[in-house]
Symmetry: C2
């Protein structure tokens, strides 16, 4: 997804929010914003929003001198989600369609995102998730049957992680995929950016029991292929199927085709308009819809 003009004010807002979380004083916040203003001016709108995210959070790290301003937030998110884990498992266990229930939870877990919404009352939202059903009105783009069918034809998957905390919800889905005898590679950002999960988060949440944990080699808040490591790109190119979690990964990969399923909650009005659904929607969509073509993978893809 390219960057919209509406993204520009939001970049500034995210930078300010991050500077505050990094705990720097107002003069330093202003210094950061001035640098971000300059970067926004020269940022090409053809690039995807996470490309600016990468620039912003590099500046935050550089100016605050803090390598990982969201470290505590990530730890808390993981712990919060791990506390919910038994309830999440129970919900899946009691479902008629376990795969569907696990997919829904994995998408619902995407509410844990400090990059989009500040002061999000995560705990409250998560409790709501567990309390109710997922109404079909919220699932306008939800290609579950196609997902299930495609899944049958593959023996392995590359799973692109998004946020700390959310990965516990991913773990639930990964466990179901393991039940279906799929081999999973779970890929995370290489360096701290916002509250995006790192390899250490995957280990902390015990995902290494079910999947091979790898880094994508990049510090962008979205899988921007040109910034990923060769090692990761090999995995990506050879993957039988890809599960891509979150808006950042969608924005970075939306022009890719074929064997990728995007799972995310729509948390931004610009993206909602781009894909043609409501804010708050749960999306499960195969790649190829951003350019109107839902292409099947070919052997050399």
């Amino acid at each position: 997804m390219h960057t919209y003009l509406d993204c520009l004010p939001c970049f500034l807002k995210q930078a300010l929010e991050a500077a505050r979380i990094a705990g720097v004083d107002e003069a330093v916040q202003k210094k950061l914003l001035n640098k971000v203003l300059k970067e926004i001016t020269r940022f090409p709108l053809t690039a995807s929003p996470p490309e600016m995210g990468r620039i912003i959070y590099r500046l935050v790290r550089e100016i605050s001198g803090k390598d990982d301003p969201f470290k505590e937030i990530k730890k808390r998110s993981n712990q919060l989600a791990l506390n919910l884990y038994p309830k999440l498992k129970k919900r899946v266990r009691n479902s008629e369609d376990k795969l569907l229930a696990a997919v829904e939870l994995a998408i619902a877990g995407n509410v844990i995102d400090y990059g989009v919404k500040n002061s999000l009352d995560i705990e409250k939202e998560l409790e709501e998730i567990l309390g109710g059903d997922f109404p079909s009105a919220n699932k306008k783009i939800f290609e579950f049957e196609e997902f299930r069918n495609d899944l049958e034809g593959v023996s392995s998957l590359l799973y692109l992680a998004d946020n700390a905390g959310e990965i516990v919800f991913d773990k639930i889905l990964i466990e179901e995929l393991k039940e279906l005898n799929k081999e999973i590679v779970f890929a995370l950002r290489n360096e701290p950016v916002i509250n995006d999960a790192l390899k250490e988060d995957a280990y902390d949440c015990g995902i290494d029991k079910y999947a091979r944990i790898v880094s994508n080699g990049s510090d962008a808040p979205g899988t921007i292929l040109k910034f990923c490591s060769d090692e990761f790109l090999k995995l990506y190119q050879n993957a039988e199927m890809v599960i891509s979690k979150g808006q950042g990964n969608f924005e970075a990969l939306s022009t890719e085709k074929g064997r990728i399923y995007f799972l995310f909650k729509v948390k931004c009005p610009v993206l909602a308009k781009d894909i043609g659904c409501e804010l708050g929607s749960m999306v499960l969509k195969k790649a190829g819809f951003s350019n109107g073509v839902n292409c099947r993978p070919t052997s050399d893809e």
Copy 2:
């Protein structure tokens, strides 16, 4: 009120919104945003937000080549409010306390503001105003008795207008003030800025029947004294009492003392925090509270 860092993303958002209303294409919108980004970088936070508003809307006029991009919106707002006028009058007529009812309506009319909230469903909000009461929970800062008392001691008032459409609600209050034998001078912006009312709007809404219509000599979306004409400043300095409508006028004059009453709806979270009340509150407040001192006017003020 000084400019907060949170205002900076909002400046950018307002510029984009105005460029769209001016009907320029995306390339021109980007050109405008780049200029605004540069201006934001050098804008001193000690200045009040309407000072940046003045810069932004000058750029919008310059780049779009349109002298008054909000002209049609203003006309529609005036007409919409004029259509409601009989209902507004009836509401005041049926009230036990006519002055209070007129003050409440004048504040409620401040919802008509394209500078703060885009795509505001004005018509719906206005209908709601007419349908219900104004709950006291929304009036935490509402110094009506002090206002009424101060009013008794004066024979004339300077009334600082805010938006088109809203001025019909002001007209209702002005009529009540005339009933109390007050002479009114009604001051408006000198040049188009957002949907702020101009002299022509005051005439179109028939306010000249009840008040002397003057310009403040400035094109800022708030009464920034250093940009006002000498003629206006004389009126301001000699005014027995000032009624200041809207957030822009409040932001510009909040450090002034004494004889000014600010009437506005709180439409921005930064301002809400600054004055310590909820978003959506109706405020009636005497000047002097921004610095914690509610000063009485002195003879040389």
